[in-house]
Amino acid sequence: MQIEADTRSIPALPKHRGGAWRDVAGILLIAVAGAAGYFLFPDSLALLTRVTALAMLALSLDLVVGYCGVATLGQAALFGAGAYAAGIACVSGVTEPLSLLLIGAVAGAAAGLVMGGIMLRAHGLAQLVLSIAIVQLFHEAANKASSYTGGSDGLAGLTVGPLFGIFAFDLWGRTAYLLGVVILVAVFAALKFVVASPFGMMCRGIKEDPIRIRSMGAFVSPVLLKMFVISGAVAGTGGALAAISTQVVGLDSVSFELSANALVMLVLGGIGTLYGAIVGTIIFMAFEHVVSAINPFHWMTMVGALLIAVVIAAPRGLGGLVARLWTPSRHGERP
């Protein structure tokens, strides 16, 4: 059976350009940029490793905010859960780095399950308040359980073994950085697959019209909870990477401030694209690094000014601005 529509209203589109190939190109670009960072900034690899860890936090935030429309300011709870789990495992004798990353991912996923289970009982502002309450509770728990977490002094004494028994975590941070880039690229590729799957479309459908999704036969909360768990695993991996690379876990890894910074990174780069999370993290961290060196007391003012400028000039973030300039939006084609 074939049905033809009246085509007078809209011109025919250009040929299909292959979204999958564009994703492959994007992933390769991230890998190449990561390799370039290794050679261009050999003295700043610790900072760049921090960027890869925080990029995973921003990616995890994009999953719930950008793809599901869930308002949260507590994403650092998931990052911190991964960091502390990996840190505690490490001081308890697990020193193999990939195992520590896995432990961080599992802890983050578990924290995501708890957080999602609580947050999805509310909507809108109440949901936002719940997220803040949860991250504050995680923060306080980490502070009080000082015999496990080191409390306000932080969890120190992490001695991570060499990667594959060969590559030691050296003083210059080369191993940690390369591990961070590989993990980031792998996570990004996996998330691209997730958000392009029917499950990912379901999440975006929920963001746009949850009632419609219900009448299509889907249960909204379980779908969102699943995304919270995935998001937690990603954030937890980032937290574990931060713990492995710095060999210390502080209370700042589970702070409201880190949650807010992650949201700023996401807004800067653009919500709901995954690319925006990485671009925003790089810009935020680079800006913080440069401006705080110039003026250590007022750098946050400059960050605030940057954010205002970006939000006014490009409401969809820098990623959205680039996409708008790059793609033939008059046809309404997906960037």
């Binding site: 033809e4 009246d6 025919a12 589109l13 029917p198 459908g205 999704i213 009448s215 909204v220 309404g332």
Partner: protein, 238 residues
């Protein structure tokens, strides 16, 4: 999923405290087509919404294949095979055509989207267009195709021709007729274009102020101009 039987027994439903439907009873056999007619505001859309579980159930029963689903939520009814193509079309405007279809395939493999493209080739050409960029006819095709990909056993079509050019209406009605002709789904059609509705369905129900005032075959209704004039407000059919 084979076509479902539907039996509505003494159904009352509405919005909040307001009762829109009052003691409605009718049945549709598996694979049968039923048109629901009536003037504006008589409860036709509310009836479909109630079968879908989107309104407040206030009494009676809705039996799907003999099981009472009136206490089930909309999502659970959809999983039991009820599919609604709403009057507002309700496509996801920020998603592309292909993404809209992917969102509707449930647990089926992504390759089933080819079925939708086979049914509506125009959607294939538009597959990377965002939903809001589609014409009304294309949106209707997308909404219908997405619903069909969910393999409903009971398809509810709420004024699918509203606001569309006559040529598109004819083409859509051909599509609906072919979809229903296989007997793989039972179809309820709410439609203001009475000729299209009578051509489509074997049976007809007429609603007035939330009550069924007439039900019978489309052939019988077609032969009774006075009845049509009285309840639907149009003159002799041609």
């Amino acid at each position: 999923m084979p076509a479902s039987t539907l039996e509505v027994q003494g159904l009352s439903a509405g919005y909040g405290p307001t009762r829109v439907l009052e003691d409605l009873s009718f049945s549709v056999a598996a694979g049968e087509r039923l048109s629901i007619l009536g003037r504006n505001g008589m409860g036709k859309t509310t009836l479909l919404s109630s079968i879908m579980g989107l309104t407040r159930h206030q009494g009676g029963a809705i039996l799907l294949d003999g099981d009472d689903v009136s206490r089930l939520r909309g999502s659970e009814r959809a999983r039991r095979g009820v599919g609604l193509v709403p009057q507002t079309r309700d496509i996801f405007r920020s998603l592309t055509v292909e993404e809209n279809l992917l969102a509707g395939i449930k647990d089926r493999p992504g390759s089933v989207i080819a079925e939708a493209y086979e049914m509506f080739p125009r959607l294939k050409e538009r597959r990377r267009n965002l939903g809001w960029q589609l014409s009304g006819g294309e949106q209707q095709m997308l909404s219908t195709a997405r619903c069909i990909l969910g393999e409903p056993s009971l398809l509810l079509l709420d004024e699918p021709l509203e606001g569309l050019a006559p040529v598109i209406c004819d083409e859509l009605m051909i599509a609906f007729t072919k979809l229903a002709a296989g007997g793989s789904m039972t179809v309820l059609l709410v439609e203001q274009r009475i000729e299209a509705a009578l051509d489509f369905a074997e049976k007809v129900v007429i609603l007035e102020r939330g009550r069924i005032v007439w039900q019978g075959t489309s052939t019988a209704l077609r032969a009774d101009d006075q009845l049509i004039e009285h309840y639907i407000g149009v003159g002799t059919l041609h």
